[in-house]
């Protein structure tokens, strides 16, 4: 594991990691600026969540190294997790109902 090819890879990865870190900080700053714009709440939520998903993908792909793992591992982990999380959205129609009730 300590051969020259591995060292070259490690050097390249150091620059990649710093680059990804810079992007994560920049996207965070964008989120903070965005939070102080007068936007409609649904648009605000969509923009903030999109940026957060981008940041999460950067962390998973590069810091957690998943971009370089076998595709079978990605398929084992990601689709089921995303599916389960999406299934939880089933509660939201009920919260809209309660909100309308609260306004009455």
């Amino acid at each position: 594991m300590h051969d020259s090819a591995e060292r070259a890879h490690a050097e390249a990865s150091k620059r990649t990691f710093q680059f990804v870190w810079g992007w994560l900080l920049a996207l965070t700053a964008v989120e903070v600026v965005l939070a102080y714009q007068r936007l409609e709440i649904k648009l605000m939520l969509t923009l903030l969540m999109t940026l957060s998903v981008v940041k999460a993908s950067l962390i998973i792909s590069y810091f957690m190294h998943l971009k370089y793992e076998k595709r079978s591992l990605v398929l084992l982990l990601m689709p089921a997790m995303v599916f389960v999380i999406c299934m939880m959205f089933v509660v939201f129609p009920d919260s809209v109902r309660l909100y309308r009730q609260a306004l009455r």
Partner: protein
């Protein structure tokens, strides 16, 4: 998938025929990673679902409420949470440098980078606790607060408290790995697995920060 640098000699994902069948049939190491790393990945997925459930429960009560408090001023709350985010992201960079040092066989480098990562985690906890104490001082309790819907405290402290617990456990975990590495007890895989945990804790904050803080700033 892009070119991997497989640590083990297991058939690549692009193979067909017998080799692909063997890989999918289980083989010695079907995912070309060690069992510790696979175990941590499976834990990360289940923990991601736990945090998702917490975030969705928080969003549910918030959407259902006509008087949800949005108490966070830029100074100090949003500024504080932004600094905490920068600290956590930077600790992820030091973590990944620690993993890199372990792959290069540089043990003192691993210890140095892990200590830097732990420092980031401790700083995050200190800033977070200071913020908690400030909110408690303002009269926020689990089921009571001066501003509106009484569930604000329960969802805020529950969500950020679970995350803070993860950060604290992470600091202890990295301490054990750093100590063991300095004594030659742990392999580069152990360092990498602890890194997966740390990055995941960072990742969760990427959703708590906009949903709990930014969406509740006083102007929004």
């Amino acid at each position: 998938m892009a070119t991997g640098h497989e640590a083990m000699s297991v058939p690549d994902a692009g193979l067909h025929g017998a080799a692909a069948r063997d890989a999918w049939a289980g083989g010695a190491s079907p995912f070309a990673i060690g069992s510790k790393k696979l175990g941590m990945w499976l834990f990360v997925v289940s923990d991601a679902i736990t945090f998702s459930a917490m975030l969705i429960a928080y969003s549910y009560v918030r959407m259902a409420s006509a008087n949800w408090p949005m108490p966070f001023e830029f100074m100090p709350s949003i500024a504080n949470a932004t600094v905490m985010t920068f600290i956590l992201l930077s600790s992820s960079l030091t973590m990944v440098m620690g993993v890199r040092a372990s792959k290069l066989g540089n043990r003192s480098g691993v210890v140095k980078w892990l200590l830097a990562t732990m420092l980031g985690g401790i700083l995050f906890d200190v800033l977070h606790l200071r913020e908690w104490l400030g909110l408690i001082d303002e009269g926020v309790r689990l089921f009571k607060n001066p501003w509106g819907n009484p569930l604000f405290g329960a969802s805020f402290f529950g969500l950020t408290g679970l995350h803070m617990t993860h950060v604290t456990i992470g600091v202890v975990y990295l301490g054990v790995i750093a100590w063991g590495t300095s004594r030659g007890k742990y392999s580069d895989e152990d360092v990498e697995v602890s890194g997966l945990y740390w990055h995941f804790v960072d990742l969760v904050w990427m959703f708590i920060f906009p949903l709990v803080y930014l969406m509740s700033n006083k102007m929004a």
